[in-house]
Point group: C2
Chain length 223, copies 2
DNA sequence: TAGATTGTTAATCGATTAACAATC
DNA sequence: TAGATTGTTAATCGATTAACAATC
């Protein structure tokens, strides 16, 4: 059993889900910082728009990373976050649905930077099958299971139309996928052992519309 | 002053931010439901994966929409949610950055359905300027301000590369944009009066990597 | 040593859940 | 009327913030 996994799981209480994306932001801020060896929770807070207490608390869920009076050693912290997030490993990713959005994501080089690498793409459209996109040959969706097993893929990105989404996700789950980033505008059902995160454009736009419709506009005399 | 706006603002306490996307989910669930005239908080909860108490509470922030003993009238509820979210209006949208992702979003018909309509697209690349995409002619980014004023655009989608994002967002703010959906992997600075929501692919993938790295795998003997 | 800053505990804040009187 | 279900209040849960002893 990896020693650090044990310590991560045992330490204190479980980190709140919102801590995880914050770790990513801390990491990004640290990437910009090669000028000094140490960084304080205060400085990291300013760089990421949170509070010093929050920064310290977030790290504390995973162990002790700092030195009282000095702060956090930048390299060590970067390394630690990388290990906590699991981005010290390479992650092969499957992409299902090579439409406009799927193609765009395939070509998105930002993925590679973090160790995520789309190694398989699938579609049901005969037109698209066999074509090459960003170095990946689009395969028939029937090849999904074998390919996922073969390449030991655990993460899938779903960019199929709404109606196809639940079917595709069922198939991914049956193929052994453990984490799914879904762009189809549905809340798909999946077993609790599979983590499904949804990115939903219409929901995001509606949140903005709400903000615009309900933001105070001088009407109530506020400032 | 619109009467319902007044009542929305005055009613109870301010709705928590997480209530808003839930309203969108309730709305979607209601769209599927034309078989009965009434729906109960219990049924809506089951359809959207939340609790009946949560459903009632969410609506209660905005007024009284139900009838004790009967439930909520489906049509009335749909209408009310539409009004609360502000999607009863048409929202012209500007898109900045017509790369892979920007083009994909331009062609994404899902936008239209909710009353969001990309009516202007901008890029700095001479290659792209003048081209037509999904019925919109890509304009030079210098035309941003005039176009936004002219078309009274309040919402912008930003799909430019990381390095350009802050500049573009500053420009949008100066042009009078009030809500921004940003896909560039930065936390942009903007005045509090402008609502900026970020969709960040790498952060989402890192969250999934964290889940995969830290999910219990039989190691601790749990089930 | 004196000053700075951590890690942690306690206090606060905010959101969810439970319970139930009001009422259709 | 009896049964169902709302709207709301109180209890619980979880996350953030404040405060400070420990310590580099």
């Amino acid at each position: 059993m990896p020693a650090e996994l044990f310590s991560i799981k045992m330490k204190n209480k479980k980190a709140p889900v919102v801590t995880i994306p914050r770790l990513s932001f801390y990491y990004r801020a640290l990437m910009e910082k090669s000028d000094t060896q140490f960084v304080s929770s205060q400085e990291l807070a300013e760089l990421t728009g949170t509070s010093a207490a929050q920064v310290r608390k977030d790290f504390a869920y995973f162990g002790q990373f700092g030195a009282a009076g000095k702060g956090y050693r930048v390299d060590f912290l970067k390394n630690s976050i990388t290990r906590i997030l699991g981005v010290d490993k390479k992650w092969p990713v499957a992409l299902v649905g090579v439409g406009n959005l799927g193609s765009a994501l395939l070509s998105y080089k930002g993925f590679l930077r973090q160790g995520f690498h789309v190694v398989a793409a699938f579609d049901s459209d005969e037109e698209k099958i066999g074509r090459e996109l960003a170095g990946v040959i689009v395969q028939n969706i029937d090849a999904l299971k074998d390919e996922i097993k073969l390449k030991k893929i655990k993460i899938a990105v779903v960019t199929v139309p709404q109606q196809a989404a639940q079917d595709v996700i069922d198939k991914l789950v049956r193929s052994g996928i453990k984490a799914i980033l879904n762009f189809a505008p549905v809340r798909p059902r999946a077993p609790k052992s599979v983590e499904v995160h949804n990115i939903d454009l219409s929901i995001e736009l509606e949140r903005l519309a709400y903000f615009l419709s309900n933001s105070p506009r001088r009407i109530f005399g506020a400032h």
